[in-house]
């Protein structure tokens, strides 16, 4: 950093957000800058606090699913999956196999869509304007499929405790096969354009480094944690649904810098696409809802279940008092925890790096503030 105070100088407070193009929503960080260097950063969140957890206490279990759609509005299906899994656990029902496959296919597709959004917006953060178009083109294909299957492009309300709302349309399997081919091509195109671009490398490699122990202590998860070399993936370490029956790889980074966090997401896109392919090949026939599914009053008790969201470890702590509404729903928001790592990553970097680092964490403010 600076070689010492040769001049009388005052650090400048630079308020980034809540209205700033690079904060991905209503996030605000107050940077204390010395010239172009960031001396300190104070994140401020809560601009989007809707009290989701408290609201869930007065909604019936079926209605809470719609709230989860709105928690992380980029990966809605993953969020629904997280809640219905917690609900299934507390109600002690198991979704039929076909429903589980459908849910995993959709969740993985949503993961790809979410990662595509990340790649595109991250490129925008760094000043490249083309990848976002490629990414949105592919994302659009996925959203079209979602619309076809669930009837909505974003707020699906498709999964149910014990299964899914309705069976997939007849042309689902060929459609997804076609989709995978298209999306894979699109991801490859973007990957080639951006990942090893000289300027992109210069902006992301060695920037925003966080080491493994610090990342774990901050509670980072998902690609942000794996970038630091900790191979923690809920799908692998606490397998759920039909993930144990799939072959896949969990890419792990080495340096914990922005490029690692970025590139792991690119690799995850390929992995997810291959997982979907396997799911399609295995997709069984059968019912899509568990038999005794009119249970809306689970036994009193509490469960903690978590699943791998595109942003990391999305946990749901569900407490039931035996009534038809959850007594307490607590979400473990991966973006929220990833954001805790912002400060150790950013201090000492440049202003432009602060943008790159924030982008590499891939936060969704709906989830951070809930």
């Amino acid at each position: 950093m600076s070689t010492g105070p040769q001049f009388d100088s005052v650090d400048m407070m630079l308020n980034m957000g809540p209205q700033h193009p690079a904060t991905h929503g209503v996030f605000r960080m107050v940077l204390t800058v010395d010239g172009e260097r960031v001396v300190d950063v104070t994140p401020h969140i809560g601009y989007l606090h809707r009290g989701t957890e408290r609201l869930a206490e007065v909604e019936s279990y079926g209605q809470v699913i719609t709230l989860f759609d709105r928690v992380d509005y980029i990966s809605n299906l993953n969020n629904e999956l997280a809640f219905v899994r917690a609900g299934e656990k507390i109600m002690e029902v198991d979704a039929p196999e076909r429903a589980q496959y459908i849910r995993v296919i959709l969740a993985e597709l949503n993961r790809v869509a979410s990662h595509l959004l990340f790649i595109g917006t991250y490129a925008i953060d760094l000043g490249a304007m083309t990848p976002v178009m490629y990414c949105f083109r592919e994302r659009e294909r996925i959203e079209n499929l979602f619309e076809h299957v669930t009837g909505a492009r974003m707020m699906h309300n498709y999964m149910r405790i014990g299964g899914v709302k309705s069976d997939v349309p007849d042309d689902f399997v060929p459609w997804v096969h076609r989709l995978i081919g298209d999306v894979r091509k699109g991801v490859e195109e973007t990957d080639k354009l951006l990942s090893t671009n000289e300027v992109f490398l210069g902006r992301t490699r060695g920037v925003g480094i966080i080491d493994g122990p610090m990342a774990v202590s901050c509670g980072l998860s998902g690609p942000s944690l794996r970038g630091s070399g900790i191979a923690y993936d809920v799908r692998k370490d606490d397998p759920y649904e039909i993930y144990p029956y799939l072959n896949y790889k969990v890419p792990v980074g080495e340096n914990g810098d922005c490029w690692d966090r970025y590139y792991l997401r690119v690799l995850e896109c390929y992995e997810s696409l291959s997982m979907i392919e396997q799911c399609l090949n295995q997709l069984p026939d059968g019912p899509i809802m568990a038999a005794g599914r009119r249970i809306a009053r689970p036994p009193a008790g509490e469960v903690f279940s978590h699943s791998e969201n595109p942003r990391g470890d999305l946990g749901v702590y569900l407490i039931s008092d035996g009534s038809d509404k959850p007594y307490r729903v607590k979400i473990r928001p991966p973006s929220f925890c990833n954001l805790i790592g912002l400060r150790p990553m950013t201090i000492g970097s440049y202003i432009a790096d602060a943008v790159a680092i924030l982008g590499s964490l891939d936060i969704v403010l709906g989830e951070v503030d809930r």
Partner: protein
């Protein structure tokens, strides 16, 4: 509508106010789930019991996640033992406060990235002026969870230097996470 909502066939389901007035519940009686640990959970429970020793007031668990209740004053010690002992709980996965009306319960979900095991610590706080020592010095993640619990439940965390509002705005009155906080008739600001 071919699909069936989980709520279908239960028109008598009402809000909490209604059920509070009418203690007679319709539908099935409340069943308390029997908590059972699986094999992996048993192992973790043993570790947890070894680690905490006499600190654990009671313990049980569900599936692979055992929990132990400790006294609020001993929570920091218990958490430190979990982190540094054989369990190696290096990640504070989740921390939440639950308003049980007569008490506030703090729940700490710990995770070990090295052993891939989860365990839960619980501590009961009085409903009036809840206070528990901060775990920020053990896990960085604690700081924001504690600020959130402070915002929403009014729990004090001595040891956490920064307790400014996180999710609420400066000067917000009340603790909206509490069951006693009115849900619909709040003041517009």
């Amino acid at each position: 509508m071919t699909e069936q909502d989980p709520l279908a066939g239960q028109p008598e389901a009402k809000g909490p106010e209604a059920s509070a007035e009418k203690p007679v519940r319709h539908g099935p009686p409340i069943v308390v789930a029997e908590e059972q640990l699986n094999e992996r959970g048993e192992q973790t429970a043993e570790q947890l019991a070894r680690t905490l020793g006499a600190l654990a007031l009671d313990a049980a668990g569900r599936d692979d996640t055992p929990w132990a209740r400790v006294d609020a004053s001993q929570l920091h010690r218990a958490a430190e033992k979990c982190r540094d002992g054989e369990m190696g709980m290096d990640m504070l996965n989740l921390m939440l406060a639950v308003d049980w009306v007569d008490r506030i319960q703090m729940i700490y979900v710990l995770y070990s990235t090295t052993n891939n095991r989860k365990a839960i610590l619980k501590a009961d706080l009085p409903a009036e002026a809840p206070k528990i020592s901060s775990v920020t010095d053990l896990w960085e993640a604690g700081s924001w969870y504690e600020r959130e619990a402070h915002d929403l439940f009014g729990v004090e965390f001595p040891g956490n230097s920064d307790m400014s509002p996180l999710l609420l705005y400066e000067g917000f009155e009340g603790h909206p996470g509490l069951k006693s906080y009115p849900l619909n008739d709040y003041e517009e600001w």
